[in-house]
Amino acid sequence: MPATDKITASVIQRRLFFINEQMGEAMLRTAYSQILNASRDFSTGMFDGDCRLIAQAEHIPLHVGALPFALKSVAEFFAGRIHPGDVLLLNDPYHGGNHLPDLTCFVPVFIDSREEPAFWTVNRAHQSDIGGAAPGSYNPAATDIWQEGIRITPIKLYDRGILRDDVLEMIATNVRHKSDFKGDLSAMIGAAQVGARRFEQLVHEYGLDVVTSAVDHILDSSEIQVRACIGNWRDGVYYGESFMDDDGHGTENIGVRATVTVEGDGITVDLSASDPQVTGFVNSSYANTVSSVHYAIAYLVDPQTPKNEGASRPIKVITREGTVVHPFPTAPVTMSTNHPSQEIAEAVIKALAPACPDRVMAGWGKRYRIALKGVNPRTGKPFIWHMFHARPGAGASMEADGWSNIGELASGGGLKFGPVEVMEARFPLFFHRHEFRRDSAGDGERRGGFGVTLEMKVETEEPVFSVPAGEGKYHTPYGLFGGKDGKPHMYRIIRAKDGSVRELKTKEVGVIIQPGDTLLAEAAGGGGFGDPAKRDPGARAADIADGLVSA
């Protein structure tokens, strides 16, 4: 490529970055559901005709690595039958989805009169509900994927610009909040089309050949950056493992095992030794697994490196079918975007600790969700409340203490919880306490972040039905290089009647909370890094003065 093209490639890279940002903004502005417009649980990306990811916006790290599988699946199914004006959908984890609630839409970009799409814009977004046995579609009782929701294999929602309203109606009828679903879906499609139009304009300005060769340059540049970083890591064959507590159906201590080979400027991650697939919904589809490995590595290299197909070239992933990280089709998977996604990333990061000690992090707290369903006595209406509070702490690194209260690894601190005052005004709930949990962080030269303690009274007049679905009650956020583990989660119900305590398991269906009972949720702290004896005495004294660490 002639040298002057580097500057054009630089300009086009900026343009691609901003097109993605604009897709994200269009989505934020138009989405209906709180999970999208407030918690931003969606991702946008752009691909070329060969299904190579060429740009993505900084949304949900886990989504991004799985998108190419989904696009390939769609492009192969409809090979030779994709036309301008088409909009395609998919959510099935066995066709490149993460889990069923993550619905993906695809808009092809046609240039001139070519028969095949030259580019694609893609938008993956977490739906509030996708059907199945449990409201919100997290069903700990599920033993196969059909119990988790509606499976959408590659379909066309628009065919040459014409809405297939029969298809839309069929899908919308299979989810619980039909109008929310339709609102969110049109926001997703609208955002992807914003991207497609801006893409067309870019190609119009520069010509297809220039944009195509600029894309090659952009991908190569990311590859070079990642390889340069990995090239500084110590060569060797390393091993790391991480465990889930259980699958909710009797299998405990489910292991993800990674053998990681660093050779020159490339990495091979072999997950074949992971445990067999399990009955409950903590299996991870192949696409979700590869994606988890990719964000683990993205966390370790320079955060500024653009995440695209080039950045993933130095990473090879090996799995064995029949394991928890590559189940045979139809195993349930809904929990996998948190767990075992986090365990997969952790096994890789722990393995690489000796290779790049200045880049790895100690363990982050795990996801523990709980949903309450009951009747609000102030309005007489039913309510469903999803807890985003009581977040765990992040793990420490060589450079810094961990952040308190920012949650789980797969979201990287991007998931917001709602104001307590608004919660109290809207729901029959009373928050006695929502504060950092003393002594929860793992000690170390750098300590972990603190988890949060939530003490919340349920002020209904009728019993409330609760669904806990989480991880990390037994397996603690790990310490590194002599740093201590963080404390694990502890979730309890304190009965108003007699003060007795009901400890919650990680996965249960239908725990009844009586009026006046208190939920005491104590979230895990992050793991520590390095020898605690080397901790700066001033920092230690400050933690004691702050009342966060016992003297």
């Binding site: 990287g412 005004a425 306490r433 400050a542």
Partner: protein
């Protein structure tokens, strides 16, 4: 009598005076960071000299000084505010550090935790608890308050933020704690959350209250010094302070609500833009203020700025209403680098003002935007930046050669490449701001100010397909000058969360009336400056399950109407439709906040004087500049171009403070007041109207059916 506008920026203090005939005089003086009031007074001397007066004479003939200050912003940025303690409801002491569970830079997992303004050891729990409806769950335990106060005294805090849960619904406990503080810690500043921001959402309210306590002592010290210095010089007029919301407040009120001043400086620029919209009749503007480190962008629609009540300043949430100004990390000092993969990046890192660009001859070693502009020949080497900064053209070339070597191109191509990349960033940054607001940039005119903007603005307009650019004559002092055309303004908020159908219309009327009386009383104190008082009412509302409210203006709604609530509901659906292109009439609608702005409209400022009779169009020289190839283009002196003059590109137009580059097919016309009104040559093609900016959705999918 004069009115004087004073805008203190990081480098320069800009001053503008206008007399009763409308004649504007301007002055510029270096800012004195240690105590800005020193530079301000010196600047007044320079301004007086322009008018052939002494400073005392000028002040004696001045009725009003309007001042935009960065004292509050800098205190926050540099973490140089008061030592603050918090008294906070037991169970809620970590709210300001929890930050709603968010961390910036998602992929940067080794980022150190952000520091907080009040360490946990000084966030002391108080036993009390109000419920969401204002009822008392736990009465205030004064013993716990006194214990907290003792600890804060011992720690030597200079200010206290009092933050109780649901205090917007019942402020009694906060007020009582305030009384105890006044008894026990007289002289220590106290900020109550129910006073600073009486609205629901604890993180926003607590954080804003802490910022207020952090800033107040610093701001009050500065204001006192300023008043003293002005009084020493015999000034007897009024001093009003520019607020983040674009209006003005007295010194007394500004010190009480210091958190409302954190965007005082940039708000002045937007005030200037609004004034520009007024006098040019161009009502839809995108302001583009290009500085050294960053560029500020704001939208003016129908002459009014856009507001936000969700600003994060220096990593800290300040939830008071403020003009929505977006900063992008691209400016004249942005540093160019070639990353290891071979691509060129410019910014966000900046060479700042020290060492600054290599061409500043202060040993800058990295190529910047400004250096690239030098290599391309755009600047007057003999009179660089009005001679205020020494010039090293060879230095600029040398650092740009470094970039050229890494890219393996000629130095001139590297320079042109740097400009292409930075222009792309600024143009796309502007587009993103427009998309966020649901606007299409092509419907706007670019208003360009800031000394560095003129060389980039026509290229950026092309990238955005914007056909018109306006450059005010006093572009570099637009802020100071715009402040002169601003109004007094006080903002109020009350929270009343409920399904709107179960809210009594009389409650709405009573809350608005309460706020109105309070506002009218404050405005009355500056009665001599005020022509009339306007009221701007709005409601924050949302659909039941959403957590973001939208602002619903009540402009056309009569509060006394019998069907007030029905009208409000209809207005909400209409507004939602307008913003998001859908509404859900069957869904429950929730009212959250009532807002009132009480605006004291000031006596009109005389319009700017027309420029003197037309001069002949005469280029002062020719300059060899690079525009895809080297070309000799005419250079005009902006200060002597007569009204109605038309200059066609390629050309350079210069004044003491700015350099403007016209590209081929650009046509600039000098307006009656000496401004440049530029018709931008269009990019070939790509003029198809796309609806990507309006957030258009597929109606057919819509939300019909349930």
């Amino acid at each position: 009598m004069y009115r004087i506008g004073i805008d203190i920026g990081g480098t320069f203090t800009d001053l503008a005076a206008v007399d009763e005939s409308g004649a504007v005089s301007i002055a510029k003086h270096p800012t004195t960071p240690a105590d800005q009031s020193i530079g301000l007074l010196e600047g007044l001397s320079v301004l007086a000299a322009e008018l052939e007066l002494s400073r005392g004479e000028l002040l004696a003939q001045t009725a009003l000084i309007i001042h935009g200050t960065t004292v509050a912003t800098n205190a926050l940025l540099e973490r140089k505010g008061a030592r603050v303690g918090m008294l906070v409801t037991d169970g809620f002491r970590d709210v300001i550090e929890q930050r709603e569970g968010l961390k910036p830079e998602r992929y940067n997992v080794r980022l150190p935790p952000a520091p907080v303004l009040v360490p946990r050891a000084l966030r002391l729990p108080v036993e009390e608890r109000i419920r969401f409806d204002g009822s008392v769950e736990t009465p205030l335990n004064e013993q716990s308050v006194r214990a907290g106060i003792d600890a804060l005294k011992h720690a030597g805090v200079q200010a206290v933020a009092v933050c109780c849960a649901h205090s917007y619904a019942n402020p009694a406990n906060e007020r009582r704690i305030g009384e105890l503080l006044a008894e026990e810690m007289p002289g220590v500043h106290t900020s109550l959350s129910c006073v600073v921001l009486p609205q629901i959402k604890e993180f926003e309210r607590f954080s804003t209250t802490v910022v207020n306590a952090f800033i107040a002592p610093v701001l009050s010290g500065y204001m006192k010094r300023l008043q003293d210095r002005l009084a020493q010089d015999g000034y007897e007029g009024e001093v009003l302070i520019m607020q983040s919301h674009g209006g003005l407040a007295t010194i007394e009120d500004s010190v009480k609500l210091g958190a409302g001043c954190v965007l005082s400086g940039p708000a002045g620029g937007i005030a200037g833009a609004c004034y520009a919209a007024d006098i040019t009749g161009v009502r839809d503007l995108i302001t583009f203020d290009m500085g050294g480190t960053s560029s500020d962008i704001a939208l003016i629609r129908d002459g009014e700025p856009c507001y936000s009540d969700d600003k994060t300043v220096a990593g800290t949430k300040v939830a008071l209403p403020s003009i929505d100004i977006h900063s992008i990390g691209a400016g004249g000092g942005s540093v160019a680098r070639v990353e290891i993969g071979g691509l060129l990046h410019v910014g966000p890192e900046s060479a700042g003002s020290d060492p600054g660009p290599a061409c500043y001859a202060r040993n800058g070693e990295r190529a910047t935007t400004t250096d690239a502009n030098v290599v391309l020949g755009y600047y007057d080497a003999a009179n660089f930046l009005d001679g205020k900064i020494s010039f090293d053209g060879a230095g600029a070339r040398h650092v740009t050669e470094g970039i050229a070597a890494e890219l393996d191109v000629e130095v001139i191509d590297a320079a042109a490449g740097i400009i292409r990349v930075i222009n792309t960033q600024m143009a796309e940054g502007i587009r993103l701001v427009a998309v966020r607001a649901g606007a299409d940039p092509r419907d706007f005119t670019l208003l360009s100010f800031g000394g560095a903007a003129g060389l980039h603005v026509t290229a950026i307009a092309r990238m955005l397909n914007i056909s018109r650019v306006i450059i005010p004559r006093s572009a570099s002092v637009l802020s100071a000058w715009g402040m002169l055309a601003t109004n007094l303004r006080y903002d109020y908020v009350r929270t009343a969360v409920n399904d709107v159908r179960s809210i009594d219309a009389d409650l709405v009327r009573t809350l608005f009336l309460e706020m109105e009386l309070e506002g009218r009383e404050r405005i009355a104190r500056s009665g001599n400056l005020i022509k009339r008082t306007d009221l701007v009412r709005s409601l924050d509302m949302r659909y039941g399950e959403q957590i973001f409210e939208i602002s619903v203006p009540l402009k056309d709604i009569d509060l006394d109407a019998g069907d007030l609530i029905e009208q409000v509901i209809a207005a909400f659906h209409a507004r939602h439709e307008e913003l998001y292109s859908y509404s859900i009439p069957e869904q429950e609608v929730v009212l959250v906040n009532l807002r009132l702005s009480v605006v004291g409209v000031m006596n009109a400022m005389p319009a700017e004087l027309p420029v003197t009779a037309a001069y002949e169009l005469q280029p002062k020289s020719q300059r060899r500049v690079y525009l895809d190839e080297w070309a000799d283009v005419p250079v005009y002196n902006l200060d002597v171009l007569g009204a109605g003059t038309r200059v066609s590109g390629p050309a350079v137009i210069e004044s003491r403070t700015t350099t403007i580059l016209l590209l081929a097919d650009d046509h600039a016309t000098v307006t009656g007041t000496g401004w440049l009104d530029i018709e931008v040559g269009q990019v070939a093609g790509s003029d198809a109207r796309d609806s990507s900016h309006s957030g258009a959705r597929l109606k057919v999918v819509g939300t019909a059916g349930g």
